[in-house]
């Protein structure tokens, strides 16, 4: 094994080698994590995630990183290594692999979850290589090592990239769980060994840097489940993240302890559970899992439902139940519903509304205000400090966070004794280069967001979004007029049709007056000999827009269409 002592690392700096770290996603945002590591003509990618759209990205399904830089350097890309199986780390792969056919390395569960996605996208022939913690693989000039960490999904790893310039450690998403459900503790020893031998740069998870202290162990949730199950007299419904296999494991074990059967509701929950079961990441005692219709026939106090929808997602199982819109499950007064999650920022109101609906139907709902019903999968400040003290990096780059979190994480690292000039808060696309003098920001490559809407990848841009925004606020008025090509005279119309503007039946007078305004504008145009369509359209838009704003204080989109016969 090639390792780099502090001295050798110094030596490497004397060579003319350069190592570049280029974040293509995940900086200044939670989502679409993707980092390129470049040495000469070799690029290694760490993760390839998606992001869920911001509120103003109307109609957008998901957001993926802009990979222009990779496509321009496609011959250099040697492979993609994955830290774990969450959407924000693997979700962009189906899109990226269509354009870039390179091998993908990950642990068994991570690749198991990925395979389902690739199948849905009809992608065959992707080279997937399974690795285990403590494995090392050679990818181009890089020696890549996988190191176990705890997270809210099993089989998560940190990644150490041994390069000719030095060792890069990327934590992936992690927490320090001293009592993980599967007993697989973070590999402190290997991290410490790397630290002892000299690490050039540490890239570390910033999600929870605003929280002091330690993140609680996943086992705490098990204890809360136990207490809640013990008190419940009727049916129990547990809603949580489908991918949190350890939480599903704890719910199943608790159900078993209280002599209840478990049925699963929601497509993603069924999928994850079947992959996890098949690969041996979850232990389900024989006869515990039953079908939903069987569950509906059992006495209420013998049943636990595991459900999706802990984020109040509009189409999810729990939302449908709450809205009395689920085909198979109906909320019954006396149900105990455990929402084992905290709302992701932006989902607070969705979740609150679901809880309200469930209460209205007579359910007893246990949600985030109850301590121990959910724990985070990310490290709080003391865990972040431990990571820095284990790895003892020369340079530090906070990752996986909105800008203020990266700043706070940088401050924390400074407090740990890393000199400010060795800490880099990066933006997506910035090139952080290490040469003999140290590290510096050496430039910028194309990076950004690609919006996915239905089958369209990148065909919705700012203009379309701006139009959707205007349409959503005040609707649209379409003004159609047919003009005789020869005479330039109006021979039909103007007709006005509106959508999303006013309730027409109550505003007949307004619409009639609007039509008159347009007529006048047209007469003025044709009278003044204006025959250019563009000028006529602009005149109609101005006149009508002014009139409507005066009458309604609204600014609908106005779309004049001229037909020539």
């Amino acid at each position: 094994m090639v390792t780099f002592s502090r001295n050798r690392q110094e030596v490497s700096f004397l060579s003319r080698d350069k190592l570049a770290i280029i974040p293509l996603g995940g900086m200044g945002e939670i989502g679409k994590n993707m980092t390129a590591v470049r040495y000469g003509e070799n690029i290694l990618l760490i993760d390839c995630g998606l992001m869920f759209p911001e509120e103003e990205m109307l109609g957008i399904d998901v957001v993926i990183p802009d990979i222009t830089y990779l496509l321009e350097n496609r011959d250099c890309v040697r492979g993609i290594v994955l830290t774990h199986g969450h959407e924000d780390h693997i979700g962009a792969l189906p899109f990226v692999l269509k354009q870039l056919n390179v091998p993908v390395y990950g642990t068994r569960l991570t690749l198991g979850l990925l395979q389902g996605k690739l199948k849905e996208h009809g992608l065959n022939g992707v080279q997937l290589q399974v690795v285990k913690p403590r494995d090392a693989v050679h990818i181009g000039p890089f020696r890549v090592e996988f190191i176990r960490v705890s997270h809210s999904i099993p089989d998560a790893v940190a990644i150490a990239v041994h390069t000719p310039v030095g060792v890069l450690v990327h934590t992936g998403d992690f927490k320090i769980d001293q009592t993980p459900v599967d007993g697989q503790v973070t590999d402190f020893c290997r991290l410490a060994q790397l630290g002892e031998r000299g690490v050039l740069v540490l890239m570390s998870d910033s999600t929870n840097v605003e929280r002091p202290g330690y993140t609680m162990s996943e086992r705490v949730v098990g204890a809360t489940f136990d207490e809640t199950f013990r008190q419940a007299r009727e049916r129990i419904i547990v809603a949580t993240f489908a991918s949190n296999v350890h939480r599903l494991q704890q719910a199943i074990a608790t159900a078993r302890r209280y002599d209840r059967k478990v049925a699963v509701v929601g497509r993603s929950m069924v999928n994850v559970l079947s992959v996890a079961q098949e690969l041996g990441y979850i232990e389900v005692p024989d006869g515990t899992l039953i079908e939903l219709d069987e569950a509906n026939r059992l006495p209420k106090n013998k049943v636990v439902l595991l459900s999706t929808g802990s984020q109040g997602e509009p189409m999810s199982a729990l939302t449908r139940m709450a809205m009395c819109d689920h085909r198979q499950v109906e909320i019954i007064p006396g149900d105990t519903i455990i929402i084992s999650a905290t709302p992701i920022p932006g989902n607070e109101k969705l979740v609150a509304r679901i809880i309200d609906q469930l209460f209205k139907q007579g359910a007893h709902v246990i949600y985030e205000k109850v301590s121990g019903i959910h724990v985070s999968g990310h490290p709080s400040q003391e865990e972040l400090k431990l990571m820095i003290n284990l790895v003892r990096p020369r340079f530090f780059v906070p990752v996986h966070g909105e800008h203020r979190m990266l700043i706070k994480h940088a401050e924390l690292a400074r407090g740990m004794g890393i000199p400010p000039e060795n800490i880099f808060v990066l933006e997506n696309g910035q090139v952080l280069e290490f040469n003999r003098k140290g590290g510096r920001i050496a430039g910028r490559v194309t990076a950004g967001r690609v919006l996915v809407d239905g089958l369209g990848v990148g065909d919705v841009g700012n203009i379309v979004l701006r139009d959707r925004k205007q349409l959503s606020q005040d609707g649209i008025l379409i003004v159609v007029v047919t003009i005789d090509r020869e005479s330039g005279q109006v021979i039909a119309g103007p007709d006005i049709v509106s959508r999303g503007f006013v309730y027409v039946r109550e505003s007949e007078q307004l619409m009639e007056d609007a039509r008159e305004k347009v007529k006048c504008a047209l007469v003025k145009c044709t009278g003044n000999g204006v025959s250019e369509w563009a000028a006529i359209k602009s005149q109609v838009r101005d006149t009508l827009g002014k009139y409507l704003f005066e009458k309604t204080r609204r600014r609908p989109m106005i779309l004049p269409i001229i037909m020539e016969v």
Copy 2:
């Protein structure tokens, strides 16, 4: 003074009098608080607030209560009493007073703030009657008493309505602040006296019922200001709610202590401060307040700016500063920015984005993760218990909360010994009637939401919102065709225009193919002798919709327009 001892209250129940409480807003929601109290042919209203629109109410400015019931009983309405000057308690008055000219009673600051609003709406001649805490006024058969409480705005009162059937106490919004900034403590004595003599029903604020313990005193924020101001080396910007006069007072006092001048940014902050100053609710030492341009000329460490925008509102002063879009204030590296607020549910992402932007510009931002930078104006569980123990009501109605909060507050009251059959969790419009037997839900009146969009009050309903929703997700395609009236033949078009669907320049082929599909559909129609417009339109919509979904997995609105010449 007419009061009711427990015995006399019992007597009143033997009479045939009925008292009804009818919430017209504020149940199952935070906002548009409004309660009708009816005795015979007399209606008294408590508060008249607005609500800010939910996310799915696209383009809506504000939401106000449906007052159909009041308009149907307009001769019975005797007056409106106000608990305090927040928007969710007075904001609907300009709309309601246009339809219902009745006297309005409130404390000085409350009416001072209201007057500004009425002026903006061009409402003159409203009868405003100023009251003081411990005042009592006769309104129809009711004797209405105003009782001081603490809240996040000065001059807040609870209301006791003495009726022939018994005493109703409505807390308004309150907290138990033992050390309020203005020294005006909640009137424990009067609440306890009423309790001692017998209260029929208590209606109490449920906003913070999910929080155990006590809400911290407003003075805690003063201490945090002091600590922060002491450490700041350059300019300080404090963003908070304009209406929190005590917080403004503390910021101004702290500025003074550290020898800084104060300038105010943001229209609502300027307005509130001027009203509060004029009415003597805030003490500003001479020479402390300066104009913004003067502030810009002073050394940075001599300046504090008080700003709006603590909720990340898109048009607010702080947002404009963060986005480098403010005419007069530019963020400078070294600025200390205090966001003295927690995001209202739904605003979390807006606020986070502003904080990120401020960090990017080199500011040092102190926000909700710092303890003591904000305290709530609503009571936590122990304060709610104190209120119940002071007032000792026979019946209990939780108000001012989403449904789950009302339920939790009902549970809390039960835990205090109020029998379950004496606790009512109501919905807007439900009539809670008290007769000799006790209380019961006796019916329902019209209640609901009226949407205000620009000048339109109630002209945007579900159809318009549904259209806006569809437009916002996938945009619109308009298909125009001109048909000869005689022959039924197409003589111009079909033309297709789209907005918010795809970026047209990149999708020319798609649009061309779509046009061909429409042509075929039209030929089929005219070929089959279909000449009804409705049938042709529906054929175009179906064909095109199917084609586009297949190609893009999107469902834009499709609007066929036929012109006849």
